[in-house]
C-alpha cells in the first residue's frame, strides 16, 4: 500500500494503517530530532511527542501539502520549542561550552573523522540554521519544502542555509588548520 493510500485509510479510521504510517516515518522523525536536539534522550522525547501528535492530528493533514513536509513541520516545531525552553533554563556558562569545544578542537581534529567534525560544527549553529541544514541534508528537502515545513519565507530559508554553510565552512577550516599544525 502506498503512502497516500495509507494516509487515506488512516484518515478513514483504520488504526493499523495509521500505525504503519508512524512506523514508516519513525526514523526520519528521530533523525531530525536527534540532529536538532543534539542528544538521544531529548530526541526520543521529541519523537514520541511528534508521533503522538501525528496520530491525533492525522485528519488535519491535507493532501495538497507533501506528507513528509507536514511530518517534519510537526517534529521541527516540537524541537525548536524544546530548544527555546531549554535555552531559557540554560545558563550563559553552558552556552559558552561550544566555544570551549571550538578552542579544544585544534588538538582533536586529527583524531576524529570528518563526520564527527561536521556534527560538532552543526551543533554550534543557531537553532534555525541548524534546522535548515538538517532538513536540507538529512531530510533532503528543497528550499520550498523547507520553507513550507518551517513556514518561513523562501528567501529567509535561503539566507539561513547560506549562512549556515558559511559558518560551518569557517569552523571546519579552523579544525583543519589545527590538524595541519599538529
Amino acid at each position: 500500500m502506498t503512502e497516500p493510500d495509507l494516509i487515506r485509510e488512516a484518515q478513514a479510521g483504520d488504526r493499523d494503517a495509521l500505525i504503519q504510517i508512524l512506523r514508516n516515518i519513525e526514523k526520519s522523525v528521530y533523525q531530525t530530532a536527534f540532529y536538532i536536539l543534539k542528544n538521544e534522550q531529548d530526541a526520543m522525547d521529541a519523537s514520541q511527542e511528534a508521533l503522538i501528535r501525528i496520530y491525533n492530528k492525522i485528519n488535519t493533514y491535507q493532501e495538497k501539502a507533501k506528507f513528509t513536509t507536514w511530518v517534519q513541520r510537526i517534529v521541527t516545531n516540537i524541537c525548536i520549542d524544546h530548544c527555546r525552553k531549554k535555552r531559557e533554563t540554560v545558563s550563559i556558562d553552558e552556552h559558552s561550552l561550544p566555544l570551549e569545544d571550538k578552542a579544544n578542537v585544534e588538538s582533536e581534529v586529527v583524531r576524529i573523522d570528518m563526520a564527527k567534525e561536521i556534527k560538532k560544527a552543526i551543533e554550534l549553529l543557531p537553532d534555525h540554521q541548524r534546522t535548515v541544514i538538517i532538513l536540507r541534508y538529512v531530510q533532503d528537502l528543497s528550499y520550498h519544502e523547507i520553507a513550507d515545513t518551517l513556514q518561513l519565507p523562501l528567501n529567509t530559508v535561503k539566507s539561513h542555509l547560506y549562512r549556515a554553510r558559511q559558518q560551518l565552512q569557517g569552523l571546519l577550516q579552523d579544525y583543519q588548520k589545527g590538524g595541519v599544525r599538529i
Partner: protein
C-alpha cells in the same frame, strides 16, 4: 560579476538552483579567480560531507513505546484526539511516577500522623470513659441488692477467667492485628506479631465482645478486631446480668491508674496459683461472704479476697488494708476506734465495700483501688 555575487551563485549551485546561464557565469568567474575557486571547492566538500551525515536510528522502536498510550475505539478504529496531550510518553511516565510517589508518600505520612494523633487523643478519652464506666458500674452494683449476690466461681473458673484477663490484657498491650487473623483462635492470637493497625481501624469487624462476655469459653470466637477497638466495644455493650458484667469488667483493662495502681500491672497478668485460691481458710471469696454476711473480726483479719483472687482486703488493727497474694500492700484506709465487727463485700475485681458494725451504729465505706481512695457512704 563581483566575488560576493559569485559566492551566492556558489551557494545556490550546491542546491542545484542555478539556471544554465547562471552556471556558465559561475564557471567563467572561477576560472579567473583562484580565491573563489578555493572557496567553491571548500563549499563543495562541505556539502558532500553534509550529505554523508550518518543516518542515526532510534535505540528502540518509538512507535512500540507509545502504542499502549494510543487510544482505540471499541470498533478498532482510531479514536481521534483521545490522547489528550502530545506529551512525551516515557518521560511523562517517569515524571508521573516521581510525582505520584511523592503524593503517595505524603498521603501515607498524613495517614500515619492522623492515626497516631487519633490514638494519642483517644487513649485518654477511653481511660476517662472507663473510669466513668467503672464508677457507674459500681454505682449500679450498689443499687442492685447484690451485696453478697456475686456469682459463684470455682477455683477452675477463676483460673480460666484469670487467663482470659491475662490474654486480653496482653492483646491490648500488643495492639492490633491484621484482618487475616480472623480465624485464629483466641489463644494463638497473642502470639501473632504486631502489625499495622490501619486495616483494623479502617475496617472494623462487627463487635463480638458481648458474645464473649456471655460465653467466655469460646476460645475460637472472633477476636480479629484490634485490642483497642475491642476495649471500646466492651465499654459500649450493655450488660445483661451481673455475671456478664463482672466478666466484662474483668475483661476491661484498667483505666489510667494512679501511681499506686501502676504497680498492679504485673500481678494482674499473673495467674493465681490454685492452691492459694482454694485455700478458704486463708482467703474468703465473695461467695463466702454471701453465705455469711456478718463476718467477724477474726475472719476479716484473715482477709476477703477479690473476685479474681488477686487482692485480699483485711483488717489490720483498726484499719482496712488491701494486699496482693504476695503480701504487697496496695491500699490502707482510715483508722477507726471503738471496736466492732467488719463485713467486706467486693463489688468488682478492684472495688469493694466494708461495713464497720459498732455497738450503736455502723459505718459503710467504699474503696476504689485504682484511685487509692475510700469514701464514706
Amino acid at each position: 560579476m563581483s566575488c560576493s555575487e559569485v559566492t551566492l551563485l556558489m551557494q545556490r549551485n550546491l542546491d542545484k538552483d542555478l539556471s544554465p546561464n547562471e552556471l556558465a557565469l559561475l564557471e567563467e568567474h572561477l576560472k579567473l579567480c583562484s580565491e573563489c575557486q578555493k572557496l567553491n571547492e571548500s563549499l563543495q566538500n562541505l556539502s558532500l560531507e553534509l550529505e554523508k551525515l550518518p543516518q542515526v536510528e532510534p535505540p528502540v522502536s518509538i512507535v512500540d513505546s507509545i502504542l499502549p498510550y494510543l487510544a482505540v475505539q471499541t470498533d478498532g478504529t482510531v479514536a481521534q484526539g483521545t490522547v489528550a496531550q502530545d506529551k512525551k510518553v516515557f518521560p511523562r511516565i517517569r515524571r508521573d511516577w516521581k510525582r505520584y510517589g511523592l503524593m503517595i508518600g505524603t498521603a501515607a505520612a498524613a495517614m500515619f500522623l492522623a492515626i497516631s494523633m487519633q490514638n494519642m487523643f483517644s487513649a485518654p478519652e477511653r481511660s476517662a470513659e472507663m473510669e466513668q464506666k467503672t464508677a457507674n458500674t459500681a454505682d449500679h452494683a450498689d443499687k442492685v441488692p447484690a451485696v453478697g449476690e456475686s456469682r459463684t466461681l470455682s477455683a477452675d473458673e477463676n483460673t480460666a477467667e484469670s487467663s482470659r484477663v491475662e490474654e486480653h490484657t496482653e492483646q491490648s498491650m500488643v495492639g492490633t492485628e491484621p484482618r487475616e487473623s480472623l480465624s485464629q483462635p483466641t489463644m494463638e492470637k497473642s502470639s501473632i506479631p504486631n502489625q499495622d493497625a490501619q486495616p483494623s481501624i479502617l475496617n472494623p469487624e462487627p463487635p463480638k465482645v458481648h458474645e464473649e462476655a456471655e460465653s467466655m469459653d469460646k476460645a475460637g470466637s472472633e477476636n480479629a478486631m484490634s485490642g483497642t477497638l475491642k476495649k471500646r466495644v466492651v465499654e459500649e455493650q450493655p450488660l445483661e446480668n451481673n455475671g456478664a458484667k463482672d466478666q466484662a469488667l474483668a475483661l476491661q483493662p484498667l483505666p489510667e491508674e494512679p501511681a499506686i495502681m501502676q504497680n498492679f500491672a504485673a500481678p494482674r497478668l499473673a495467674v493465681p496459683e490454685e492452691g492459694a485460691v482454694s485455700n478458704e481458710k486463708a482467703f474468703k471469696s465473695a461467695d463466702t461472704v454471701e453465705s455469711k454476711p456478718e463476718v467477724d473480726m477474726q475472719a476479716a483479719k484473715e482477709g476477703v479476697s477479690s473476685p479474681d483472687q488477686r487482692y485480699i482486703a483485711a483488717v489490720e488493727g483498726q484499719m482496712m488494708v488491701v494486699k496482693d497474694q504476695e503480701g504487697k500492700e496496695y491500699f490502707r484506709g482510715h483508722p477507726w476506734g471503738g471496736g466492732g465487727t467488719v463485713t467486706i463485700q467486693w463489688l468488682s475485681p478492684y472495688e469493694f465495700i466494708y461495713v464497720i458494725h459498732f455497738p450503736a451504729y455502723k459505718e459503710q465505706w467504699k474503696v476504689n483501688l485504682p484511685s487509692g481512695q475510700e469514701q464514706k457512704m
